[in-house]
């Protein structure tokens, strides 16, 4: 089995505490950014920008708080699959709605 999954996952040289606090600060900065973007007048771009910032926050939480770095490739496959599947649902339905002739 995996060598690292013995007593506790190790983060390497840094104490995990320092890393967690840095990640937390980054998340807060991203939150401020999210709100700030809402005050900018960028029209249709506000949605993709807001979603991108949210996605960055999500990836950060998944990698650092959910210990994805220590989790096997299998989990990556399943998480990606869930996102892709949701994307397929959205794609399939929206393609229908967009392409309907009135």
């Amino acid at each position: 089995m995996d060598a690292h999954a013995t007593a506790a996952p190790q983060t390497g040289h840094d104490s995990p505490l320092g890393l967690y606090l840095k990640v937390y600060v980054a998340l807060m900065v991203l939150l401020v950014l999210t709100v700030g973007v809402a005050y900018l007048n960028i029209g249709a771009w506000s949605l993709p920008v807001a979603l991108t910032i949210a996605a960055i926050k999500a990836v950060v939480v998944v990698i650092y708080f959910m210990h994805m770095r220590f989790t096997g490739k299998l989990m990556w496959v399943y998480i990606s699959a869930s996102v892709v599947w949701l994307g397929m649902l959205l794609f399939g339905v929206l393609i229908d709605v967009i392409m309907r002739t009135r």
Partner: protein, 216 residues
Amino acid sequence: MSEAAHDVTLSHQFDDLVQQRESAQLGMWLFLVTEVLFFGGLFMAYSLYRMEYPDAYAECSKLMNMSLGALNTAVLLTSSLTMVLAVMAAEQGRIKALIRWLIVTIGFGGVFLVVKAFEYHHKFVEHLVPGPYFTHEVHNREACQLFFSLYFAMTGLHALHMVIGIGLLSTIAWMASRNKFTPAYNNPVEISGLYWHFVDLVWIFLFPLLYLIGSR
């Protein structure tokens, strides 16, 4: 094999603690995959109607209280930090710290729910609940009701998951107080943490999608 058979933390179907831990992790991640698709259906409905009624969505999103939404986001992000500190404490065998951090995390969850309750109350009072009592002045009454239906559905489902999460963490805290966890065995703490972070992740997307449509 005989050594493991006497270890009360090892269930009989597993050969060793490593297999047990990895199985628990894989199991929880798979469950989170199902949750992505579960909430995903709501995101689907939201996307469809946002595409069809962008103006109504923008107008009605402005009726949301952005400050409370941002506050709640900050609360949940902080609770994720305290959760990961709880997991760290469990891995290091610091049980009192574990219990403390769990209680703080639960506290943040409670704050979130209280703020949410205020928001819901505000919506009732402002006649923004979809259905026959929706009498708030808006341009497109029908589309705005669609927006609020999804608002209540998505945040309601999320709040339900928060309540379950609080129950889960309370159970974990209780188990910790009975000394069930050691550095070698703390799977329940870790996988409850995964669940809690997931609930945070859902909110990370809900906040901009519901509160921040259209510029201010």
